[in-house]
């Protein structure tokens, strides 16, 4: 980590979050560097990585295989081929092995899929109907947020509106419904309806390819912590920053498979990248914005309780009230339920020692998740600062001022009352 010189060169910041800005300028995270915070965020990264290993496989399965199935009742029943599908960046035979860990589905995921919470081997459809399964609805809610906030991914969306995309989608739709005159007839009558669904599926692919990278990153962070090689919150953040750069150029694409035939709806040759077309839009759409969720709390848009502009939405995890509302959106109750199944023992013990113990573990792990996502957001902020601005130890005061302006601008977004930045500074927030 570079030694920051900002505090020696610049006068102290007068921002409401001046302490946190000075911490960022010193190479730190928005999350305070305490052993408890480190334990919490690493534990939750591991618990998140297991369902995420299912989410990315499921998203790619739906975008590449289920596609426009008009009755997709089995879309969450991903095939063995997708459970065995080698992660492109982990495993012995990876195209480019950046992270250690195995290529196919994680053993804890396979065990949960077989036995569920019931701990009994039952047919897949019984686990499904009993809702004893991974909540793919969470992954779809994230995808939907990325799809709906259409101002944050301009190049990707421009391509979805291009003639080239329409032609590719047309070819894919015709191939998929070959020999199905009823669906081809409907397509002829309502071409835009089908095209809109394909665009949505392109976002399934986008998010699947994004999470394919994040799952092994989080597994490796957990392993490093267990081995005593990740010892501080800034080290955890720096691991994420390096990961963001290492994988920034990964292609984002959308392929459809009909049998063994591949139809390129978004070819890799379009040049879309993991950082620009997936990671940054994901953070904006999911961490910050999402949308008002359906649950126990109602919003009155006429009374101004919902911003008139989508860019001002603030329903992401960084703002979430973690009272569980049974929603796939944010606060992500379904994700919290998924993570509950894969908590490391040390987090289970920690939660039992605080507040209501096992009775409110979901809330406690939700708060932990919030802490961990403030750390991921810090990594994104530091990565953007590295990419677009200047080193923290830059000798030029003008450059340090530019860095400070950037940090202050980023933290301005947490001045609204719903933001949890102030809360996560305290260990008592659980």
């Amino acid at each position: 980590m570079p030694t920051a010189t900002s505090s020696k060169t610049l006068p102290p910041s007068s921002h409401a979050f001046a302490d946190i800005i000075h911490r960022l300028e010193a190479g730190g995270s928005m999350l305070p560097d305490t052993p408890d915070n480190l334990k919490q965020i690493i534990g939750i990264y591991k618990a998140y990585a297991v369902p995420m290993d299912f989410y990315w496989r499921g998203l790619l399965y739906i975008s590449e295989r289920v596609f426009l199935n008009p009755l997709p009742a089995f879309k969450y029943f991903i095939s063995d081929e997708y459970l065995d599908r080698p992660n492109a960046y982990a495993g012995d035979n990876a195209d480019l092995r950046i992270w250690r860990g195995q290529a196919d589905a994680h053993p804890e995921l396979r065990e949960f899929m077989a036995k569920g919470e019931l701990k009994r081997k039952l047919p897949k459809w019984m686990h499904h109907l009993w809702h004893d399964r991974i909540n793919m609805e969470f992954a779809e809610a994230c995808m939907q947020a990325m799809f709906w906030h259409d101002d944050i991914n301009p190049k990707f969306n421009a391509y979805l509106d291009s003639d080239a995309y329409k032609a590719n989608a047309d070819g894919a739709i015709r191939a998929y419904f070959k020999g199905n005159p009823a669906m081809l007839g409907l397509y002829k009558l309502f071409p835009d309806l089908f095209l809109e669904q394909v665009k949505r599926l392109s976002y399934y692919a986008n998010l699947g390819l994004f999470w394919e990278v994040m799952a092994p990153v989080f597994f490796e962070m957990s392993d490093l912590y267990d081995e005593g090689k990740l010892t501080t919150v800034p080290e955890a953040m720096d691991f994420l920053v390096n990961g963001i750069f290492a994988i920034a150029g990964r292609p984002i694409y959308h392929h459809l498979y009909v049998g063994d035939e591949c139809y390129e709806i978004i070819p890799k040759s379009e040049g879309f990248t993991w950082l620009y077309e997936a990671a940054l839009p994901y953070v904006e759409a999911v961490f910050y914005r999402t949308s008002p969720f359906r649950g126990t709390k109602s919003y009155n848009a006429q009374a101004g309780q919902v911003p008139s502009e989508p860019k001002d939405f603030h329903y992401g995890i960084l703002y979430a009230d973690l009272f569980p509302v049974g929603s796939a959106g944010i606060p992500p109750t379904l994700l919290m339920q998924d993570m509950l199944h894969f908590l490391p023992d040390y987090l289970v013990e920690e939660y039992q020692q605080h507040t209501r113990g096992a009775d409110d573990t979901l809330i406690q792990l939700g708060v932990t998740f919030q802490r961990s996502m403030y750390n991921v957001t810090s990594a994104v902020i530091q990565a953007l600062r590295t990419a677009l601005l200047y080193p923290l130890d830059d000798p030029n005061p003008q450059h340090l001022k530019a860095n400070r302006d950037f940090f202050e601008q980023q933290l301005d977004r947490f001045q609204r009352p719903e933001a949890r930045l102030k809360d996560i500074q305290q260990q008592t927030y659980r």
Binding site: G249, L388, Y390
Partner: protein
């Protein structure tokens, strides 16, 4: 006079850039097209990127080409031709802001105005990234 690719190939300190241009399939375009202004990152600039960054890009030529095109402007611009607060438009389509004298976005120009047959090269100390 030599073209942009010949100058980069025959000058010390650009082996990574030349390899990247080859991997991205941009040699012919930069050798015969133009006029171009190329902001050429020195080898040290590529080396300063976190491990794996360059390798992932080299393995994916269309994505690498996009990053490299962000270093090219479709015009022959000497340093005297641009001014502070001006924004140049890269071949990739994204803007390149000029924030200070002898700087291009967040990179410093360490050697300016190297003229080629089909444009001009400015050597910079950082790899430029869109955004």
């Amino acid at each position: 006079m030599a073209n942009i690719v010949e100058i980069a190939t025959n000058t010390e300190g650009f082996s990574t850039l030349v390899a990247a241009v080859q991997a991205a399939g941009l040699v012919e375009a930069l050798a015969t097209g133009g006029p171009f202004t190329v902001f050429a990152p020195h080898d040290d600039a590529f080396a300063a990127l976190p491990p794996g960054t360059v390798q992932t890009l080299v393995d994916n030529p269309p994505q690498l080409a996009r990053i490299l095109k962000y270093h090219v402007v479709a015009d022959k611009l000497f340093q005297a031709d641009w001014s502070i607060s001006q924004t140049l438009t890269s071949l990739e389509g994204s803007p390149i802001p000029i924030r200070a004298a002898l700087e291009v976005k967040n990179a410093s120009v360490i050697a300016a105005d190297i003229e080629a047959d089909n444009g001009v090269i400015h050597v910079i100390d950082r790899v430029l990234l869109m955004g």
